[in-house]
Symmetry: C2
DNA sequence: CCTCCTGTAATTTTAAAATTTACACCATTA
DNA sequence: TAATGGTGTAAATTTTAAAATTACAGGAGG
């Protein structure tokens, strides 16, 4: 199972909110059009980001705005917010090894021990990239291509 | 989507083959019982490992044996063998962002640029652990628990 | 030549992710 | 104060990917 596309959509939304949040009323409908995802999916994502304090969403009247600086929003923070146990779901593990076999009995412990290290490494990697980097890259691509 | 459970099953099989491959005839049926996975799944996994030169499987009569030293088999090599494009499938990306929106038009480039770095980091992490480590851990757990 | 095994294609089942439908509730404004 | 255009969320449905199952051809060795 991979890290959900919801994280990619969340990044897309955050760039959009950063770029337009002050000028326009950024609604779930608008983000739905830009991302190509369903408005309900967007609302669920925004709801998580809001609970984590990353954005504010005006209830009733609508519209999302950024609530903290780009440097404070790492990819790790986004993933963790959207999908709290994404790291432990990184590796699939077969659920029914035989308890009668010494290897079957211990394989979960063995795998988890090494997988934990890999998860920690991935965690560091995800923490090293922030929305600041992504917005900078976005501006680079905008200039370059258009 | 996560990294397939087939990788965990492959590691299970390799420990089994290392421990018993010389003494017993390790068949897909036997590995199926130990892992709790289907014999056909096992045969597909063994078939990949065989093509990569990690193990040998006796055709006709049956039985798998290790073909190289434990140190040479990294988790990366196993994953890559079982699921060649697992790294690029690590992050899901929404497939239909709007080409009419500047962000929608560039989001794939932006995401891939950062995701590539993360994939490289993960790659390094996966290369840092070998079957030697996993077998050592296994022996540790065996002693400890039984 | 019979038995036990591998290799692999094709189908079915299962499980997870995403979408859709539905509706209660809030703010603004005409 | 009622209409409009939003949010928040639950529940059902659809879609998609992974895994299991079924099926069978073919090799090795007693």
């Amino acid at each position: 199972m991979h890290i959900s596309t919801k994280c990619s959509v969340a990044i897309h939304c955050l760039i959009f909110i950063y770029e337009y949040g002050e000028k326009k009323k950024v609604t779930s409908e608008l983000l739905s059009l830009s991302t190509g995802s369903n408005p309900v999916t967007i609302r669920n994502i925004l709801s998580s980001l809001k609970k984590n304090g990353i954005i504010s969403v005006k209830f009733g009247t609508g519209g999302a705005t950024l609530n903290c600086s780009l440097e404070e929003i790492t990819i790790y923070r986004i993933c963790k917010t959207i999908e709290p146990d994404f790291l432990s779901k990184l590796f699939g593990i077969h659920s029914l090894p035989s308890p009668l076999c010494p290897i079957g009995k211990n394989i979960h412990s063995v795998l988890n021990y090494s997988y934990q290290k890999i998860q920690n490494d991935l965690c560091d990697s995800l923490k090293s990239i922030t929305m600041k980097d992504l917005v900078t890259d976005y501006h680079y691509f905008i200039q370059d291509i258009n």
